[in-house]
């Protein structure tokens, strides 16, 4: 049974697209058939983060409007045969998306994939509401920082009122994914810690992604961090999060890339 997951946050720049790509790739690596769908019409970036920017022919709006078939618009990842991308349009504006059109595309995707991951645009307007409209579950990407936590709270309110599931009186599964976490700074009281964020948002935790240079490196080369460097701390954190999405119960840890003293002295690098 296919699951539609929206990756959302309200605030921009917290890591929705990075997390969509990393979770999508991790689920595909676990043998799941995954489609990642970019809802950021006009500002698409999921194609770039996945390294598929030169292969985009048709997009979500073309499919919604019947210009292209879904099978023509889906782009298969070159590294993972189970991972597919449905890109957003770069030119048209968000008004080109209709609720009915999005609903029928999601329904068709449900028939072909195990996971349909919708990468939401920032904000709480139409685009963000359409991205969450047909979701069964939501990943709310949150930085341990006041404006991000506040916006996550707004988004949780929308998930509980504006989704199809909520309107039918059902509950949408919500998970917090904390990104850019710095355990040292949190321990020193310079950054909101995990318990603070969870208590304030009273929503369960899916994972903690540590702040890491690997994330920027991955987007530089157009590869989800779970493919580019699977052993890195953020990749391990995303992989754990994806296993939790699959129902596994794992202890919550903050993976670290911190090098040992010997590594520091000799400047050794991980292969």
């Amino acid at each position: 049974m296919a699951k539609v997951l929206v990756v959302t946050s309200g605030k921009g720049g917290v890591g929705k697209t990075t997390s969509t790509a990393a979770l999508g790739a991790a689920l595909a690596q676990a043998g799941q058939r995954v489609a990642v769908v970019d809802f950021d019409v006009g500002l698409r970036n999921l194609d770039l983060v996945l390294g598929a920017e030169r292969r985009v022919v048709f997009d979500l709006i073309n499919v919604v409007q019947g210009v292209a078939r879904l099978s023509q618009a889906l782009i298969r990842d070159k590294r993972l045969e189970n991972l597919w991308l449905l890109p957003a349009s770069q030119t048209r504006d968000k008004d080109a998306l209709t609720e009915q059109g999005v609903g029928s595309v999601i329904k068709e995707l449900r028939g072909k994939f195990d996971w349909v991951i919708c990468d939401s645009p920032a904000g709480i307007e139409r685009g963000a509401q359409l991205a969450m409209r047909f979701a069964d579950a939501a990943v709310i990407v949150t930085n341990p920082e006041v404006s991000s936590v506040r916006d996550s709270d707004r988004i949780i309110g929308l998930l509980d009122s504006k989704t199809e599931k909520a309107e039918r009186g059902q509950r949408i599964d919500k998970h917090i994914l904390i990104t850019r976490y710095d355990a040292m700074r949190a321990a020193r009281g310079e950054m909101l810690n995990i318990d603070d964020v969870l208590e304030i948002l009273s929503t369960p935790l899916l994972g903690i992604i540590p702040e890491s240079e690997e994330v920027l490196r991955a987007s530089n080369i157009g590869s989800p961090v779970t493919i580019s460097n699977r052993a890195s701390a953020p990749a391990r954190a995303y992989t754990d999060a994806s296993r939790r999405l699959l129902g596994e119960s794992l202890p919550m840890t903050v993976p670290s890339d911190r090098k040992g003293l010997l590594d520091k002295l000799f400047g050794r690098r991980a292969a």
Binding site: V146, D153, G157, S161, G189, L192, D196
Partner: protein, 90 residues
């Protein structure tokens, strides 16, 4: 002493936590309904303008949303000519 102050200044996370708790308890309560403080502000202003003509620029409004109690402070500068109007009208 200076060392202690330095140490204290670094722990900003508890401040963030408290600010968020107050703000969000307020925003959650206000979700889906008109903001009580804004309604009060508008009604008080319209009540005043029934009796005196005041420029919006001469009205200072301050709000402070606390965890248990919020305050609204309205400071209206009423020109002397307005007082004359009121006396003439009665």
């Amino acid at each position: 002493m200076r060392f202690l102050n330095l140490f204290r200044r670094r722990r900003s996370a508890p401040v963030a936590r408290e600010r968020l708790q107050i703000l969000l308890s307020y925003e959650r309560a206000a979700r889906g309904q008109a903001d009580l403080m804004s309604v009060l502000r508008e009604e008080i202003l319209s009540a005043i303008s029934k009796h005196v003509t005041v420029e919006r620029d001469n009205v200072q409004i301050r709000m402070d949303r606390g965890q248990a109690v919020s305050t609204i402070e309205i400071d209206v500068a009423i020109p002397h000519s307005a007082g004359l109007l009121l006396a003439a009208g009665s």
